[in-house]
């Protein structure tokens, strides 16, 4: 029914201002960098894996228990970047507590007017990070309607 893109955000003191600089910085510093996620295999982990693969970078993954703690450590500058859900990531990027690098979507999303080119243009593989699926057949009673969000 709907899809919800991830947003690539970095700690606010990372010395980059756009996706191009970000990719160059990772390539130069990959052995010293860490990216966080809400857990192994989660919807905030796999997009970063895909992104790292697309740019050919080998960066240490730090899994957390949920997105909240990752965001705290990113704001605190203890990790370098993450692929956050657009809702929480865009809010922090707008506040300036983290640096918004790119929205991992094919098109600009109204929630954040981020100016760098979308990640999809630089690495097509990382688009469409997570989908929300609601399935409901008319013939079935309403309680069997399933709504699942992959995170």
């Amino acid at each position: 029914m709907s899809e919800s893109p991830r947003i690539l955000i970095a700690r606010k003191d990372l010395p980059v201002n756009n996706l191009k600089e970000f990719v160059a910085y990772i390539k130069a510093n990959e052995s010293k960098m860490q990216f966080g996620s809400a857990g192994v295999g989660s919807g905030t982990h796999l997009p970063c894996v895909l992104f790292n693969l697309a740019i050919g970078a080998n960066v240490t993954h730090v899994p957390y228990r949920g997105e909240g703690p990752v965001m705290q450590d990113l704001i605190g500058g203890r990790i370098d970047y993450m692929c956050a859900t657009i809702q929480s990531g865009a809010a922090q990027a707008k506040e300036g507590t983290v640096k918004g690098i790119a929205v991992m979507s094919e098109k600009r999303v109204p929630i954040i007017p981020i100016s760098p080119p979308p990640a999809s243009r630089a690495c097509p593989a990382s688009k469409r990070a997570s989908g929300t699926l609601s399935s409901c057949r008319r013939a079935r009673p309403i309680r069997s309607c399933a709504s699942s969000t992959r995170r």
Binding site: M1, S2, S4, G41, L46, V49, L53, I86, V109, C136
Partner: protein, 55 residues
């Protein structure tokens, strides 16, 4: 539900919340049956590259 998410007011609100509404032809059980195998194939590479396994 499909009609509801095409309602301009609802759609605008969902988009403001950071959602992207998929086109109507992507909302059927038939499309899902095609979409899932594609997604499995698409994500297999990064999952294997990252050494992730279900346990």
């Amino acid at each position: 539900m499909s009609d509801t998410i095409d309602d301009p007011t609802i759609r605008k609100r969902l988009e403001e919340l950071g959602l992207e509404i998929v086109p109507p032809e992507h909302r059927s059980p038939e499309y899902l049956a095609k979409y899932l195998p594609q997604e499995i194939e698409r994500w297999a590479k990064p999952i294997q590259a990252a050494g992730i396994s279900a346990d």
